[in-house]
């Protein structure tokens, strides 16, 4: 018995030892595996393998210091709002792996270090973008959500670039390579403008010293804890300032000395000029503070306000200084505005001038009410445009500039985007575009031939149910644009047709209203819509579409390459995207109601393939050859340059606006006239409902095409990068995201496929089983 117990104990001990040993070995093997690992990338575009450009970028720079900020215990998902979440598990590992890959190709030039303590605090100081998770704690009586960091800073000599938020693994390579290329370019370009950068740095350093001095007075008053609360009362700060007035003047007057040195550098760099302007305002404010301090009769009650303004101006100055430091080699993208194009900027002139409205509103309460509501809409429009600009372009590191009608195009603009104008361009604007193209830079034109309204709010603001839609509710009108002749001169003739694809097309999202008792419920429904054609015939020799498998271009028009361009040996023409053979480019009327259009398809004669996007590179003749140069508009200043009759450039024409529509006060308040407010009638107030409907229709159109717009963004960015001649980056971005759509499948075919797979496959297996059992029984 005793022997049995002993044997049982020994067996148990043995089991534990073996189990422990096996687990230990397993853990050890995995740990060793993490240290030395290899990967095989099976994806078609080698999506997870560094491209040659990235490898070269990693090896090109000597000694780049990369500081990586990864919060411990990152959340598993990121809240994108509207109930949507993005799974970010494993993203940190992918980011670190990607950096390790760059490091291995850098030949020791890239040094990656991971910040381990106070990650979030240091990340914030390094200008990374922190994000919040679900975890929250009550701090100071408030619910504070925990913040996380996942990004890196890249330091090369005196240049620094930040990867603020690394949450999209498909773009890691694109972003890191972009940063490395930018660091190299910035360093090289900054050498040629050393004097400008040094002068700017001297001004910001002097202002910083002054600001720190103010900070020290602020700290003195509340025992070193800092804070501006006492500034409102002003007493202590003022006495501190007065006590140290000589020192304050000495420190802050240094700014004026540095600003004076900028005079000789005027007009050499617009960013330095901007900084100089802010610095001059700063100097004026320093003088004002000095005056108030020196006044023995003064009670110093205005001084806190002056100091506050000084602080604000310093923030502006610091920002200008940063812009200047980052400016070497930076290329801007100009967006032509003022012809109802897609123009992602707040309107430059207000629709309703406040001073006039105030005058009119005094006598008429209706005008006052109208002004309030109109102003709210105008503000909303401007906010939306600013959000689009920041979200779409600024956050992606693209510098975009607004080019108003008649304005000269700044020198640092490398690509001019003419994005779906809905109104004719003046001769002067066409001339500016012409000369810009011939100066060796790029012009990208997105056409917006048709105003297609599939389902709108009625005039007056009432919405409609699709069942009640009449032909009048759906309309298609051509916009009165005048670019065709100029584009044809360069080699691309836009056709005034609309493309209907019969096999590959995207869905349109239509808002539906359902009455349930006294309530009306809104819901969204997708309809396959052949006017949102998906093109798969892409010229894969061109970097712009090389890695894309398909592009969906809403309400597209076809383009014809002219014989002159095709036969010109100095121009290289590429038809980037073409319709399918079965497609119809229709000049006749087409049904706009999705179900009706699907029925109409069989009656449409195919006339494809035709081009819908064309790129031309080479020598262009001027559209204004032999014509008088259109004069500069009154009030527009600038330097006239000699007329260029021909020159090299790059032109890209796309027969669609990719689903991005113009939103401007001009469009929303279409037909509005200030005179209406003084006519004594109340018509303008009734029209307010139309204006609201116009705004709602813009939102509705965006919703209708939202998935298409989202999918087209990569193509848009490719176009912009191609325009600023960053073709290597285009190639990398494209491999990160490839749209792979499947054909639209009709209802009955869907059912057959579903039944075949869900029922057919198991039935076949059951049949095989029965046959096998029967044959076995026979054998036995």
């Amino acid at each position: 018995m005793a022997t049995q117990t002993k044997s049982g104990r020994s067996a148990r001990t043995n089991a534990w030892v073996v189990t422990g040993s096996v687990l230990g070995i397993l853990v050890l093997v995995n740990v060793l595996g993490v240290w030395a690992f290899g990967r095989a990338d099976l994806t078609q575009n080698r999506q997870y393998t560094l491209s040659d450009v990235s490898r070269q970028a990693a090896g090109d720079l000597e000694q780049v210091d990369v500081q990586v900020f990864v919060s411990a215990d990152l959340p598993g998902s990121l809240d994108l709002g509207f109930g949507r979440q993005r799974d970010i598990r494993g993203v940190a590992r992918e980011f670190l792996d990607k950096l390790a890959e760059y490091q291995s190709y850098s030949g020791g030039n890239l040094r990656v270090t991971r910040v381990t303590d106070d990650v979030e605090g240091k990340a914030e100081k390094a200008r990374l973008e922190l994000f919040t998770g679900k975890e929250a704690a009550v701090e100071g009586g408030r619910l504070e959500f925990r913040k996380y960091a996942l990004g890196a800073t890249f330091q090369y000599r005196n240049q620094m670039e930040v990867y603020p938020l690394a949450l999209e693994p498909e773009y890691f390579e694109f972003e890191i390579t972009k940063i490395l290329l930018r660091l190299k370019e910035k360093y090289q370009q900054s050498a040629g403008m050393r004097d400008l950068l040094d002068a700017g740095a001297a001004v910001t350093a002097a202002a910083k010293a002054c600001d720190e001095k103010l900070d020290s007075y602020d700290r003195k008053e509340d025992g070193g804890a800092g804070g501006l609360s006492a500034l409102v009362g002003g007493g202590d700060l003022v006495s501190n300032l007065r006590a140290d007035m000589v020192e304050f003047k000495k420190t802050c007057d240094a700014v004026a000395g540095e600003v004076a040195k900028l005079a000789v550098l005027k007009d050499r760099n617009e960013y330095l000029d901007q900084l100089a302007q802010t610095a001059r305002a700063y100097v004026q404010m320093v003088d004002e503070a000095g005056r108030q301090l020196a006044d023995p009769q003064g009670d110093g009650k205005d001084l806190p306000a002056v100091i506050e303004r000084l602080r604000q101006l310093y923030d502006l100055l610091a920002r200008d200084g940063e812009t200047l430091v980052n400016s070497p080699g930076r290329k801007s993208i100009g967006f032509l505005c003022g012809h109802r194009e897609f123009c992602p900027f707040a309107d430059s002139t207000p629709l309703l001038r406040p001073e006039i409205l105030q005058m009119l509103g005094q006598n008429n309460p209706l005008v006052q009410q109208f002004a309030g509501q109109a102003k709210a809409i105008e503000d909303q429009i401007n906010t939306v445009n600013e959000q689009i600009r920041r979200g779409l372009f600024t956050r992606k590191g693209l510098t975009v500039k607004r080019i108003d009608p008649g304005d000269d195009i700044p020198d640092d603009v490398e690509v001019l985007v003419v994005y779906g104008p809905q109104k004719p361009l003046s001769d002067r604007d066409q001339y500016l575009i012409d000369q810009f193209l011939l100066s060796g830079r790029s012009v990208i034109v997105f056409l917006n031939t048709w105003d297609v309204a599939v389902y709108n709010f009625k005039k007056g603001g009432d919405s409609m149910d699709p069942a009640d839609m009449t032909v009048d509710d759906l309309h298609r009108e051509a916009y009165p644009t005048n670019l065709d002749a100029m584009l044809a001169h360069y080699g691309v003739q836009p056709n005034r047709d609309i493309v209907v694809e019969k096999k590959d097309f995207a869905d349109i999202t239509i808002l539906q209203l359902q009455k349930q008792g006294q309530y009306t419920l809104q819901s969204q429904r997708q309809f396959p819509f052949p006017l949102l054609p998906t093109f798969t015939d892409l010229d894969r020799s061109h970097v712009l579409v090389k890695r894309l498998s398909a592009v969906t271009l809403p309400y597209a028009s076809t383009l014809a390459v002219t014989d002159a361009a095709r036969n010109d040996p100095n121009r290289q023409v590429v038809e980037l995207i073409r319709t399918s053979k079965e497609a119809t480019a229709s000049t006749e009327s087409v049904e706009l109601s999705p179900p009706y259009l699907l029925r109409q398809l069989s009656t449409m004669a195919p006339n494809g393939p035709k081009a819908v996007a064309v790129a031309i590179k080479g020598e262009f003749p001027s559209f204004f050859e032999g014509k008088a140069v259109p004069p500069r508009a009154e009030g527009k200043k600038g330097t006239d340059r000699p007329f260029v009759a021909s020159g090299n450039g790059r032109l890209l024409v796309v027969g669609s606006n990719l689903g991005l529509e113009n939103l401007s006060t001009g469009k929303v308040f279409d037909g509005f006239n200030m005179n209406q407010l003084t006519s004594g009638k109340a018509d303008f107030f009734l029209q307010l409902r139309d204006y609201i409907a116009n705004f709602q229709n813009w939102q509705l159109r965006l919703t209708q095409l939202s998935p298409v717009v989202q999918a087209n963004l990569d193509f848009l960015f490719n176009c912009l990068d191609w325009g600023i001649q960053n073709e290597a980056l285009v190639d990398i971005r494209s491999k990160g995201y490839v749209k792979r759509p499947i054909q639209a499948v009709s209802g009955p075919v869907r059912t057959v496929l579903q039944v075949s797979f869900i029922v057919g496959l198991p039935l076949l297996l059951a049949l095989a089983g029965v046959l096998r059992l029967v044959s076995r029984r026979r054998r036995s």
């Binding site: 290899g38 215990d73 997708q526 499947i742 496959l761």
Partner: protein
């Protein structure tokens, strides 16, 4: 090795000699079809395949892994537990075979079952290839990942089956371990805790997702192989330890 293959063949044909394998695979195919073609909002929110209109099989693979968490423990529960309950294990071990050969043979037999079940889903990539132009990399990676996860489930199931004579107990233990290893990366967040790197490192799902992108990373492969080899070795040791009692 010959002994291993003989046992594997016997085990494989034993599955398909009774309706069990057919029923299990048929149920698997029906559930997979439903989850692939239709949206199941609360379980795994994704668009209906025809609505999403994307030539990808990622949702299919994710569902395969989920369904295997239940089906493979059900298949592996009988591997040793049944032999033990029927008393045939002793008989088997009196033959000139080692415990390791028995365990390896049974594991390979079950792997054959996994191969057939997975192979029958090849109709799905064909469908997607006919309707669109999918990237073959993630499909190859997805199948490779599914086979690795499946093999790991079977190995864990085999281990559970070696520990007990009750098939139900073996099934429950296996399903518990498999589910824990699969969803360990989701667990901390689900219970309101922070995500832990260690949870990711241990998670079948995290390693599977990495492979299913179309990237064969040795770290993921080594992870699955160590789980498989470890579980099979422990199962073998569990059989051997019977001699000592």
């Amino acid at each position: 090795m010959r002994n291993v293959l003989t046992i594997a063949r016997r085990e494989f044909f034993a599955y398909f000699g009774s309706p069990v394998a057919y029923i299990a695979i048929a149920v698997f195919l029906v559930l997979l079809g439903v989850t692939f073609f239709f949206e199941i909002p609360f379980l795994l929110p994704k668009d209906d395949f025809f609505e999403a209109r994307e030539a990808t099989l990622r949702p299919l693979f994710e569902w395969m892994v989920f369904l295997f968490t239940i089906i493979l423990p059900a298949i592996s529960m009988r591997l040793l537990a049944e032999e033990r309950r029927m008393g045939t294990l002793e008989l088997l071990l009196t033959l000139p075979v080692t415990e390791t050969e028995v365990v390896a043979g049974k594991f390979l037999g079950a792997l054959g079952f996994l191969g057939i079940a997975t192979g029958l889903t090849l109709a799905y990539p064909l469908l997607v290839a006919v309707l669109g132009n999918p990237d073959p990399g993630p499909i190859v990676g997805g199948y490779f990942g599914v086979l690795l996860v499946g093999a790991a489930y079977l190995a864990v199931g085999l281990l559970a089956s070696a520990w007990t004579g009750s098939q139900i107990t073996a099934f429950l233990v296996a399903i518990l371990i498999c589910a824990a290893f699969t969803f360990v990366d989701r667990l901390p967040e689900a219970v309101g805790l922070r995500q832990m790197e260690a949870a990711n490192l241990m998670s079948f799902n995290a390693h599977f997702r990495s492979i299913a992108r179309g990237v064969i990373d040795t770290r993921d492969v080594v992870f699955f192989l160590t789980v498989i080899v470890g579980a099979v070795a422990l199962a073998s040791h569990s059989l051997e330890s019977r001699k000592w009692r």
